[in-house]
Symmetry: D2
Amino acid sequence: MSNNPITRIGVFTSGGDAPGMNAAIRAVVRSAKYYNLEVYGIYRGYEGMIQNDIKKLENINVGYILERGGTFLKSARSAEFRTPEGRKKAYDNLTAHNINALVVIGGDGSLTGAHLFYKEFGIPSIGIPGTIDNDLSGTDSTIGYDTACNTAIQAIDKIRDTAVSHDRLFFVEVMGRDAGFIAVNAGIGSGAAATLIPERKMPIETLIERLKSRAKAKKQSNIVIVAEGGKSGGALEISQKVKKFLPNYDIRVTILGHLQRGGSPTSFDRTLASKLGVAAVEGLINGKADVMVGVINNKIVYTPIKKAIVDDKEVDEDDFRIAKILSQ
Amino acid sequence: MSNNPITRIGVFTSGGDAPGMNAAIRAVVRSAKYYNLEVYGIYRGYEGMIQNDIKKLENINVGYILERGGTFLKSARSAEFRTPEGRKKAYDNLTAHNINALVVIGGDGSLTGAHLFYKEFGIPSIGIPGTIDNDLSGTDSTIGYDTACNTAIQAIDKIRDTAVSHDRLFFVEVMGRDAGFIAVNAGIGSGAAATLIPERKMPIETLIERLKSRAKAKKQSNIVIVAEGGKSGGALEISQKVKKFLPNYDIRVTILGHLQRGGSPTSFDRTLASKLGVAAVEGLINGKADVMVGVINNKIVYTPIKKAIVDDKEVDEDDFRIAKILSQ
Amino acid sequence: MSNNPITRIGVFTSGGDAPGMNAAIRAVVRSAKYYNLEVYGIYRGYEGMIQNDIKKLENINVGYILERGGTFLKSARSAEFRTPEGRKKAYDNLTAHNINALVVIGGDGSLTGAHLFYKEFGIPSIGIPGTIDNDLSGTDSTIGYDTACNTAIQAIDKIRDTAVSHDRLFFVEVMGRDAGFIAVNAGIGSGAAATLIPERKMPIETLIERLKSRAKAKKQSNIVIVAEGGKSGGALEISQKVKKFLPNYDIRVTILGHLQRGGSPTSFDRTLASKLGVAAVEGLINGKADVMVGVINNKIVYTPIKKAIVDDKEVDEDDFRIAKILSQ
Amino acid sequence: MSNNPITRIGVFTSGGDAPGMNAAIRAVVRSAKYYNLEVYGIYRGYEGMIQNDIKKLENINVGYILERGGTFLKSARSAEFRTPEGRKKAYDNLTAHNINALVVIGGDGSLTGAHLFYKEFGIPSIGIPGTIDNDLSGTDSTIGYDTACNTAIQAIDKIRDTAVSHDRLFFVEVMGRDAGFIAVNAGIGSGAAATLIPERKMPIETLIERLKSRAKAKKQSNIVIVAEGGKSGGALEISQKVKKFLPNYDIRVTILGHLQRGGSPTSFDRTLASKLGVAAVEGLINGKADVMVGVINNKIVYTPIKKAIVDDKEVDEDDFRIAKILSQ
């Protein structure tokens, strides 16, 4: 699309942070150096682009961060970037720094911004999917999702210890506003009694039936996973409904919350982030623009951003079935 | 006190479970075997004593549990044990099993029960302090406290990743209804901006002042630890008060909850539990009764239960001072 | 293949243990119950089959094991099973128990045994790939591989702390006798200076050159990952060769060893194991035999065992390239 | 000793690094600021003092390092500091920076250096015990010891999974050249079959006897902990001796090695390091010099360095006894 060769890349993180973002930034910086390009870090996403919070990055700046959660470039929301004036200001700052290509690491909102910006100003940009929600098409997994799943099951492992010791029923709320990926994974991975997700409504009667039948089978622990955005309400609401049907149960609720956003990334997320960071730089060098880079079936794939952000990614049917069978 | 030699020990866990209880049970069973005594496990605490849920334990029953959280003997509340009739029933069941000594692992309520039971029926019993709250005198640390502190700081480490990335102010609620031990430790251990505990009221103005002065000093992260039982309210209430003073802050709340009760015990808790389990059995053999066994200054110490449960244990003044200095 | 309906499944683990094997056994037992089949556990693999160490399994037997490393059915080598007489004895024991289908969880050697057994006696069997080495075709990942990679990088994270503090060069040996999967993953995931694997010989001069160039670039840490089965020798041999060229380097060696075989399985391995366990039972019900069940591109796939054990699975070229770029 | 008020503190880490050193440096910097003193970081210990590798430290420099293993000030050996000329050069550099007090964080060798330096040049210095070996008097625990113990037992937990699955006998070598603290703790904490330490020679016959008797009792796992500096040799030598007596045992050896030096410090070590860092600064302000600050029975205590480095600290007799009873 762009005819001018890429010489200076701007990289930034945007939207909710996800473990592995630092590993992705590192990979962008190091591969850019490998290909003799310059890299500038834009702090606090689009907001920093507007505020001109932009600094040159060298290999030394990304040493010893691969294993850290969060993003050292920080992230922020930017109301101003939603205005044409804000975007113009951002463009001017990039131009002043001679930045002629962008790598944006974030979720669907962040990629939408990049798409818009490309259409308006033509600076080629490549998106890297970084979000614990795993709700982007064009990649089998988003950066941070595997870490969040592991954080969730490790927390639930601890909760199970106390649930079993006291024969309690626990409702554990995990993140995933519109997508039940973490919930279904954590449900299978923690041997949950049931998993309630936004995509599928489980009638309260079905849940009660399941719990009663497990009580008969003398299951040792009863943990119900609830995705935060479920239509039936969060863990607290559902626990209160269940309490009415099962007044003798000793019920507790834990909302895992922001725990799931942090922590040292897993092996999977580090490798994924490293791969996508290198592939983003190589994509820009090869003239790609307005695309998101992902890994599908272990292969690097570039998908038009417009296509990737249309969230049609769904939890696998097999996973639903297996979660159901194993919770009986 | 008792003139008859101990031949058969009943062991049980009671009250809120704590990581390391399994290690303590194991130590009781194995040291009893070492001294040629028999051991019976009483399931679900005093309730199981009344329900006659009592089984013989061999070394094989405590294999591979040292590292597990929770308690495989389970724990439960018993309303019936609070009645003379209930305690009589419990006593009859013990007698029917020829159990002539008890080891109870639990917190102050559990030890109070043992004290009462001893006074009424004369069965010698030794208490082992097992509670994450660390609120028992007669021991430097209770079983589970160190693990809970580590669980708390590891969770806060993850939260800090996302707090720093978004320049957010987090209120993290930790356990400790009447005692701020976990909170103060987690506050020092996680570099908190402030720590609010039941024992000391911090005026909201002081907290606001601290946060403002940290903002000036451009501290990277702002995490306030709140003990659940604080007089100023839980994390949620305090965060709402602060929000009024600092409307521009991006504030989040996480309640760690039952996470802190489970998980594989730390090295410290495993060693402590092992030591106390052996010392409880040796104490019974040596004619001790109605005492709690603890470790003070690395030495095993037996304290009358009545004295241990009078909760006058307080967070160290040095710890307060250090927490304050390091949060400036 | 078999015309008789499956009624009783024998399940066992064989070969080197891998984290997630317990989760797979649990899934086999619970899904068999779900489909109204009986399940028998065969202890210590083929050896237990010959020794008739076979016990009925109920849901209760697989409670609270999902999150544990190792295999509660144990594993062992069996010289006798390699003889026709041994296999006949094994067959007779299965017949005496009315076991008319098998699920074997293990690596290539274990699946080879199942294939041979099927050819000789016609008992339908399905293999589940359980090995940390990831060296089986017919599945994107084997059970235990993801956990082993995470164990490796977490260990290397600790080593990096001390490597950076002392400006030392570390050689860390990871498992993978014939396959560099763990090494390459750990190399990318830990930001290694170089990764030496069995599949590709790196001349010692290239390694020396890389280290010297990193020294110039003032890289903070220098960790070289060595797969145990490399042709250039293990970590110890290579470190000694390097020492001759770089006599002033402060060099240390750590061999991670059996650490990598144990530990609580990751979210990925728990989900994979659960999925494969259910799919193995469903496969048997649907008349499949002499196949291995795997997951390729998130879909359950059955591959003839004979095809799966021909180890032509190779580390991805992209991974090599990315490892190389990021280590410069 | 010194009549001039302290105005500028030099802080450095020396000797083998230990988790929690960063937390100690942070506490020194932050409490110095709290008391309106300046702080300079001396890189790479005595070597950096000689090379004049000295930089001013502000609060910002110690942000977000509390939870990291290693030491960002680095550590190194210095042959030159052992010479009077070297020490003179070091002194001149300190003087040039107007540094008039020192905090040294390290083990006995590092404290010895400080003692010598104080005697020669009179710059007041306070030592903070930082070593995983726990072999310093004047404190109940040294910084890093608790973390190392936890790293050891977590590794052994993983090894036990595979040991149990294969009925193997494992010899695990832990650190502790002259002191069996880590070994005895890990032995109790991991339920070891035996623990071999430098301080006490266990005849090979006793070990064989123990293993045979455990085999009879059908213990599930057999793990022998060996401290690296044991007179009977390391894990490898002992395993070979045992193999001769028990040729049918399936024996494996794992040397944990430098793993034990790194990793995020535990709650205990973070609190200890924070406390000692503050107390060191307060000690200097109060005119103390040539002392090591420690915590004994939860109280801060200053001990003359000369007394602290005379290593007469011994593993507690109770611990030996308990380790023995629980391994039967």
